[in-house]
């Protein structure tokens, strides 16, 4: 039987997968972002404010938080689109720290049913009770998370097989050659960033409602570094790559009590080993292609 602890681990995997996918989208366009946690956080705060303080319906708040995250990502990427490599990474890191430090100062409280609720700087934002108020069990909420994750993966699966996905990978491999093809990488980098921001936002909003309490410290740079590492471990050849990374880290390293204390040592070592042995992760482009051919042949037989 699925107990609540196991369910929490599983739902955690689902939510963190969304931010891992968002980092992955930027990785395939050739940019390393240390700032996806900012969009995760923006959506967590705005989505939770919408349901808790304004009484919005969950789905609209989910869309609102994620769109806000997408818009923020669009603005940041429009400003940074002409820089790349290390400079891009530094600017995303700077932005995410700006968001985190702003949240530390951000206070917006309202009295709801005789209780003062809302974000209050470093004290965080508690009482995000939509899930409890609506009698949604942990199991149901986990299903909801996986429904959204499934929708995101399905969309990305089609995008990756479309012209847009090919352009993303072209830009990731050789921006100059992409330009020679008549394609302006700038536009597509903004599209990728908005998409990534939106998906990170979905994860953040779900996260806030799952844990009922959020504080700025959750959205620190370690979350961004982890979400990058998931893609680099799991592989950059398919959207399932980052999911493998998340399942390995949260499902295995973080949840098993014996290794829990050594998680960062094991995880850091794993990243280092993978970068040397398989620089584009376990499911890299070649392995994905071979698997796809094998699958096609198997289906034909």
């Amino acid at each position: 039987m699925l107990n609540d602890y196991l369910l929490t681990v599983i739902s955690n995997i689902g939510m963190i997968s969304l931010i891992a996918i968002s980092a992955y989208i930027l990785l395939i366009t050739g940019e390393i972002s240390f700032g996806q946690q900012a969009y995760f956080g923006i959506s967590a705060y705005s989505g939770a404010i919408a349901t808790t303080l304004w009484g919005w319906p969950f789905w609209i708040a989910l869309l609102f938080g994620s769109l806000l995250a997408g818009i923020a990502a669009g603005v940041v990427s429009t400003l940074t689109v002409r820089i790349s490599g290390l400079y891009f990474s530094i600017s995303t890191l700077a932005f995410s720290e700006m968001v985190r430090l702003s949240l530390l100062k951000f206070s917006y409280q309202k009295e709801i049913d005789g209780e003062l609720l809302g974000p209050n700087g470093a004290e965080g934002f508690g009482g995000i009770r939509w899930v409890f108020d609506n009698n949604i069990s942990v199991f149901q909420y986990t299903l909801l998370i996986y429904l959204i994750l499934f929708l995101v993966i399905t969309c990305l699966f089609f995008i990756e097989r479309s012209g847009l996905g090919m352009i993303f990978r072209m830009i990731g491999q050789d921006p100059m050659l992409t330009r020679v093809h008549g394609i302006n990488p700038v536009n597509y980098k903004v599209i990728a960033a908005v998409l990534a921001g939106f998906i990170a936002g979905l994860g953040g909003m779900l996260y806030a409602h799952s844990f009922t309490f959020i504080e700025p410290q959750i959205f620190n740079v370690m979350l961004g570094v982890h979400s990058l590492a998931y893609g680099l471990i799991g592989g950059l050849g398919t959207v399932f790559g980052p999911l493998i990374g998340v399942a390995l880290d949260i499902g295995f390293l973080e949840s098993i009590r014996v290794i829990h204390g050594y998680r960062m040592i094991v995880f850091g070592g794993l990243v280092a080993i993978m970068l040397i042995l398989m620089p584009r992760g376990f499911l890299d482009e070649k392995r994905v292609y071979r698997l796809r051919l094998a699958l096609r042949n198997w289906l034909r037989v």
Binding site: S162, Q173, M176
Partner: protein, 247 residues
């Protein structure tokens, strides 16, 4: 017709192109030769919009395109290959060819999600035909990064054919090839690349130039020193001097 008028380009204090003027006639293959460092590749980089020019004018079919960026020039039907091969190494050969057929126009509301790896897509058919022409049909499922050098060069040309440009700029297409491979490349350029297109070929291998070019332009130290029929140009004293030095 591609026309360059008094193009100047400097990198710091180094004047790479010194007011060079050049006409590339339509629908024939023009050769561009010159000693190392004479500015050939810089010229192609300028024609494809990769380097901005300091002064001068670039005309394509009479329209001023000076200052246009590389993707804008590409949209006008100009495609180039690179001296140091540029292909998408983490894509298969066939995906590389298909990638050349994707344009900014595929980013229309319905078009951008059009499936590209669907086997029934007409693009896939065209790509297979092109690979057949290039005698690479057996390599279509290999990763481009795993190809040998001559095959990478062929893949670049296959991508150019897939793009089907009006103007094609080949920067040392036979670089690193054996004489036999060069010969088959010359045959390929004559048969499949050149017909109906304006072509510019930069090359050091004179047998290739003699085989494919109807017009030949020689530059040295960023200046044009001769242009005309290859057999005449080869015997001009300035050209011999540029290559062999003064007697």
């Amino acid at each position: 017709m591609f026309e360059l008028r008094k193009i100047c380009k400097s990198f710091g204090n180094l004047r790479v192109l010194k007011s060079i003027s050049l006409k590339i006639k339509s629908d024939i293959v023009t050769g561009l030769i010159g000693p190392n460092g004479s500015g050939k590749t810089s010229l192609v980089n300028i024609m494809s919009g990769i380097y901005p020019i300091d002064s001068g004018q670039i005309l394509l079919d009479g329209n001023d395109i000076s200052g246009a960026t590389s993707y804008q020039i590409s949209r006008l039907g100009v495609f180039r290959t690179f001296q140091h091969i540029r292909i998408f190494e983490r894509m298969t050969v066939i995906e590389n060819v298909i990638s050349a057929m994707i344009s900014h126009e595929s980013f229309s509301f319905y078009g951008f999600l059009a499936q590209v790896r669907n086997p029934e897509d007409p693009k896939v058919n065209i790509a297979h035909n092109i690979l057949e022409i290039m005698e690479m049909e057996n390599d279509s499922n290999l990763f481009a990064g795993d190809l040998t050098l001559p095959k990478r060069r062929r893949l670049e040309i296959a991508r150019a054919l897939a793009r089907d440009p009006k103007v094609i700029l080949l920067d040392e297409p036979a670089g690193g090839m054996t004489p036999k491979e060069t010969e088959s490349l010359a045959h390929l350029i004559n048969k499949n690349v050149a017909p109906g297109r304006t072509c510019l070929v930069i090359e050091h291998k004179m047998d290739l130039i003699a085989e494919v070019c109807e017009d030949l332009c020689v530059i040295n130290h960023g200046e044009k020193i001769a242009q005309g029929d290859p057999s005449v140009v080869f015997n001009q004293p300035e050209v011999i001097e540029a290559y062999l030095g003064k007697v």
